[in-house]
Amino acid sequence: MSELNYIWLILGMSLVTYIPRWLPLAALAGRRLPGWLLEWLDLIPVAILASLLLPLMVIPDATGQLDPLSSEFLAGTITIIFALKVKSLSGTVIVGMLVYWLISSLV
């Protein structure tokens, strides 16, 4: 990708990232939202993280094929156990990388 195209790419990315961050604050600040909507919004971050994560673990090669015994799945399972015991984001990232490194070099 050329220099100019790269600039256009990140400008485009920044625009589509900024608008969803800004719009609700600009439109809704201080308004009281209905209870069911708050409950739904409260569950959204967990739901998004799980939808990002599980496909990476069980469909590792973007082939569309389920592969539940991959290094990605094994490393993920161990990392989840660690993360639930030790609530540390950076610790989890480091442990996850090391476990995956170890498993993929053994397999």
Binding site: W36, L49, L52
Partner: protein
Amino acid sequence: MNHQPSEGSHRLKTGIYQGIVAAWPVCLGFVPIGLAFGVIAQKAGLQPYQIGLMSLLVFAGSAQFIAVSMLAGGAGAVSIILTTFAVNLRHFLMSSSLAVYMGGTRKWLLSLFAYGITDESFALNLSRFKTGNWGITQALTVNHVSNFFWIASTMAGGFAGEFIPEGAFGIDYALPAMFIGLLAMQLKGRRYIVTAILAGILAVVFAMILPGNFYIIAASMLAALGGVLINRRLQPEQPGE
């Protein structure tokens, strides 16, 4: 200018100080993730200043990882931008939750605050706003201090990338590990666990049948709805917040 410290400037200083103290764990978390991102971006052919520019303008970890892996795979700008939009649409929901606590804040401050909404700063700021002892000064400090650490560590990774061999240290697993860490911190009750399991299963099924990255938005909106319905069935008397 009058040198006597006014009450306003004292409040500002206290707010910034409280923001920095609170932001510290988030910054520490950004360093390994930022380094890993920088290394992967360098392997995809980006220069450190291009990496820094992306971190400054976009400031969204997961989307940056995905964009760089798409770049390495030869994807075009339009499909990368659409994927970024799908992945970052979740900030719409986070911004809506934060908006509840930000009545009376000036518009330009809100617009500046919007720039810094990430999974990490959202989780931190929302929990502090709920305690009542938090304001725009503290929240903006959290966002901008963590933004600085993000830019610096991704650029450092970009410089270090040259000296790190392909696949070393399991760097390719930094992104899934980050999702695991963020998820684990948010599983604070049964309804969150139920929703996460539902979302994961739906996402895997949708990823196999839907084109592109729309499975992320589809699975999470449905799973959160399922979570609300299951929760209401289990505790029908619970009033809304």
